[in-house]
């Protein structure tokens, strides 16, 4: 009698687990393509704002590689997207991580044109203080636009710092740590791209981006 009721309870519980999982699996299958498409579109919109799209004829998101350069880019593995015009390299887009933000790591998107100047910098995710450090978001202030057109020659490397440290970049009132760490991260991204040179464009592309996102 006791065993029977335990078995019955186990069976009912198992039935719920199976139906719950199937419901989720069916829905996942149904909306999966849409979700991957959303992610792709969101990324593409971001890329379009920091790349000279009129000079590009490939889809950089389909032309990505993974590089390992923790000391320059902050993460074990970093995505690098290549923008080309026919055979000519136009720009690379990297996703470096700023390890030393005021409230944890900050994820960036940096495009570097083939001549070594910055096409644009955007903040993808961060946990900085609302109202102080979050002015790094493009929707909140124009600060990240300061990087446009900068390179390791303009300003020279020793001037790649916030004004308080004798550099050229603005800091925010009440928040110096956030801008300082982002300026450093962008600088080391530039150094990395400069060191790699053509190698970044020559590397074989990894699996297409949309297939990776599905895993």
């Amino acid at each position: 009698m006791k065993t029977k009721s335990i078995l019955l309870a186990g069976f009912v519980l198992g039935a719920f687990a199976v139906s719950g999982v199937s419901l989720v699996a069916v829905t996942h299958e149904a909306v999966d393509g849409r979700i991957a498409d959303n992610q792709y579109q969101a990324m593409k919109r971001k890329l379009d704002t920091i790349l000279p799209s009129e000079r590009i004829d490939n889809d950089p998101l389909q032309d990505g590689i993974e590089v390992k350069a923790r000391e320059y880019l902050g993460a074990e593995v970093t995505e690098v997207y290549r923008a080309r015009n026919g055979e000519d390299p136009v720009a690379v887009v990297l996703e470096p991580i700023v390890p030393d933000g005021y409230a944890g790591p900050i994820k960036l998107l940096v495009s570097v044109l083939h001549d070594g100047t910055i096409g644009g910098v955007r903040v993808i995710s961060h946990h900085e203080t609302p109202g102080l450090g979050d002015k790094i978001e493009e929707t909140k202030s124009d600060w990240v636009l300061e990087f446009n057109g900068k390179s390791l020659r303009n300003p020279p490397p020793e001037k790649w710092a916030v004004k308080r440290d004798g550099g050229e970049f603005d800091q925010f009132t009440g928040a110096t740590i956030t801008p300082r760490s982002i300026v450093n991260a962008v600088k080391s991204t530039l150094i990395y791209v400069d060191q790699q040179g053509e190698a970044l464009f020559k590397a074989k592309p990894a699996a297409p981006a949309d297939e990776k996102e599905r895993t």
Partner: protein, 236 residues
């Protein structure tokens, strides 16, 4: 079992007199974390409502099947499934909103309010009542989340429903109220303490309103024998 509650009293309890957030103080984690703007509060409230209505309905449907000793794991399974569904659907149709609320959507699973309603109400009532209760409780929570979000957003950055288009589409841009760019704002409102202060004020306000209503009711009762007082009570 006692006589079943009327729909009106279920709705009244869910939205006002037994509001799970203002009275039972359940679900404080999403309340504190996501109410940094009216849009976020509304999004979180609607997601919670969807989950609670679905879980209430399902729990009520299977209430005779589920033996008492396994009811809690079954509730957890049901709620977890629906939360995952809501999360997937949000990713597919409200992607921008999902990016803002992402982490907290999965945390709806551990919102005590939902398992609380499953255990206290849905497992003892008919499906229609359980559904009404889920919707009412969810609506009550949505109202609190949206109001607190609007309050904090307004004090901190001088806007209400900023970026409402993320949730409600382009047409909702007209919803945004703004004081203009000159407003300096009180940062504390958008930081975690601001949520506690705001919630405290809302609970206090609810208690004051309840007290006023009670006083009016007791004042109105003896009025039947006194025409002058009756007229006065009606006027107020």
């Amino acid at each position: 079992m006692s006589a079943p509650q009327s729909y009106a009293s279920i709705v009244g309890e869910g939205i006002w007199s037994n509001n799970q957030m203002l009275v039972a103080l359940l679900g404080l984690c999403p309340l504190l974390a996501t109410t940094t703007s009216a849009t976020n509060g509304l999004g979180m409230g609607l997601a919670t409502t969807a989950v609670i209505a679905c879980s209430n309905g399902t729990v009520s449907l299977v209430r005779h099947l589920v033996r008492p000793e396994i009811r809690i794991p079954v509730f957890v399974l049901v709620i977890a499934s629906f939360v995952t569904l809501v999360e997937l659907i949000m990713q597919a149709y409200f992607y921008e909103m999902y990016l803002v609320l992402g982490l907290f959507i999965s945390l709806i699973v551990v919102n005590c309010m939902i398992i609380g309603r499953a255990e206290a109400f849905a497992s003892k009532n008919r499906v229609d009542r359980a559904l009404v209760d889920g919707l009412a409780v969810g609506l009550g929570a949505t109202l609190v989340l949206t109001t607190l979000g609007a309050l904090r957003e307004f004090v901190a950055q001088g806007t209400i429903f900023y970026q409402a288009d993320l949730l409600l589409g382009e047409a909702a841009k007209g919803l945004t109220v703004s004081l203009g760019d000159d407003y300096q704002g009180a940062l504390i409102a958008i930081l975690p303490p601001g949520a506690f202060i705001g919630l405290g004020l809302m609970i206090a306000l609810k208690n004051v309103i309840d007290k006023l209503v009670r006083r009016l009711k007791t004042a109105a009762k003896p009025a039947h024998s006194d025409p002058a007082a009756h007229a006065e009570a009606a006027a107020t």
